[in-house]
């Protein structure tokens, strides 16, 4: 019996394809593929249905063509719903067609048809969904790695002075990394002063502030000093509103001011080198005055 269903479907593939194309094109009105040109949509439809039939002819399940077809759609960014809707439509059309070929249908035969069509369509749907979600998971994991890489860098700018620029949202995971990198970095670079720059942190709420306070306290414990820089005026106001006490360590509005303080703390100053000409001028002036 299942073989008979197979034969009916394969022998009448033309009719089924025609019906399928009609329904899929009709469904298109109110959906997701509006940005895709008609031509491309039609040719993809034809290819899709051919791929399905190839898979059926080879006894169901996956074929090379199906895999490469789904891979291509994933890369082109077609919505997954196009494929799942297409296959559901195919299921409906095929069952309708097989039923219409018989005058009398008993329940046994009906369940044979359903069962048979399911064994064709379901593995294809599963494979496509896996393919899509696999590619999404891959993208997400790549982005997570990329994010982690720029999570909490520590830059030794000068002997005994290091800077940690923070950009973007700080979550619990990142706060942990900030703490670890700060402490290992202070030991490794033998830093006396660490500047934490929060210019690029969009929101400083109690959690972020709490983590910064803890990090600064830990840095103090290992014998270095922390300066919090890059506090924008609106962040300063929200910190005051929240009632957070950042008085335990120095804070500055900009990295430049913080750096000057860091130099002072390590016993250094910035001096402009005097040019040769000005020195000569100075001597001349002294001579004329004398």
């Amino acid at each position: 019996m299942p073989k008979r269903v197979d034969r009916i479907v394969l022998d009448n593939s033309d009719v089924i394809i025609k019906n399928w194309l009609k329904i899929v094109s009709e469904n298109r009105q109110n959906d997701y593929t509006s940005s895709i040109s008609d031509e491309l949509f039609q040719s993809t439809n034809r290819e899709f249905v051919n791929v399905i039939f190839d898979s059926l002819a080879s006894g169901g399940g996956l074929t090379k063509e199906l895999e490469s077809f789904s891979e291509r759609l994933v890369n082109l960014g077609w919505p997954l719903s196009y494929l799942t809707d297409g296959l559901q439509t195919f299921r409906r059309v095929t069952i309708d067609f097989v039923l219409s070929q018989h005058d009398q249908i008993d329940t046994d035969f009906f369940s044979v048809i359903l069962d048979r069509v399911d064994t064709w369509v379901d593995p294809i749907i599963n494979k496509l969904v896996n393919e899509y979600s696999g590619s999404w998971e891959h993208t997400v994991s790549l982005q997570r790695v990329a994010l982690q890489e720029l999570s909490a860098p520590l830059i030794p700018v000068m002997r005994n002075i290091t800077i940690m620029p923070l950009i973007g949202t700080i979550d619990t995971e990142r706060a942990k990394q900030i703490m670890e990198n700060l402490l290992t970095g202070v030991i490794k670079h033998n830093a006396e002063v660490v500047l934490i720059d929060i210019t690029g942190v969009p929101v400083v709420d109690t959690m972020v502030a709490h983590h910064i306070i803890q990090a600064a306290e830990a840095v103090r414990l290992i014998g270095a000093k922390c300066i919090l820089v890059g506090i924008r005026p609106e962040i300063a106001q929200t910190i005051v509103n929240l009632g957070i006490d950042l008085g335990k360590f120095p804070t500055k509005s900009s990295l430049r001011k913080g750096f000057e303080t860091a130099l002072e703390l390590t016993g250094r100053t910035i001096q402009r080198e005097k040019k040769q000409e000005t020195i000569v001028e100075d001597i001349m002036n002294q001579l004329t005055e004398g």
């Binding site: 949202t169 979550d171 619990t172 969009p202 929101v203 400083v204 709420d205 109690t206 959690m207 502030a209 709490h210 306070i213 005026p233 609106e234 962040i235 106001q237 929200t238 509103n241 929240l242 009632g243 957070i244």
Partner: protein, 133 residues
């Protein structure tokens, strides 16, 4: 009823989503950068409370209008354990999770109006409004 923009809080990164949506709405209403930062911080606190204490909840936004004054209303709802003693959580420095304990009293100071309803074992609903100046 008008549909309200809403963010479900299920994981830590949803806090960022809520904050960004709130900031966008605040910008649309014409809040200045300082008030935008205040609103974003308040949302951050409320959403984090949901994430930390209730696990799952919602933050939604409403444009409110009172005598020609426009404002943004933030409502944070959860069905978590609720708050046993409301006056205690509104004190600065009180925290059950080892934090700074500045969250809720902070939100009250960041926003113009602040309302909290909580039933022990039933969940919590907090709504706060900031008016455009």
């Amino acid at each position: 009823m008008e549909l309200k923009p809403c963010v479900n809080i299920r994981q830590e990164w949803d806090i960022v989503g809520a904050r960004q949506l709130g900031r966008e709405k605040a910008k649309e209403l014409g809040f200045g950068t300082v008030d935008q930062a205040r609103i974003a911080t308040a949302i951050s606190e409320l959403a984090r409370n949901i994430y930390l204490y209730a696990g799952i909840g919602k933050v939604y936004f409403e444009m409110v209008d009172h005598l020609g004054k426009k404002g943004l209303k933030i409502v944070a709802v959860d069905e978590g354990p609720g708050i046993r003693d409301l006056s205690q959580v509104m004190q600065d420095g009180y925290s059950t999770s080892g934090g700074l304990g500045a969250g809720l009293p902070g939100v009250k100071r960041l926003m113009d109006t602040f309302e909290i309803n909580s039933e022990w074992g039933e969940g919590t609903e907090i709504s706060a409004v900031k008016w455009v100046r």
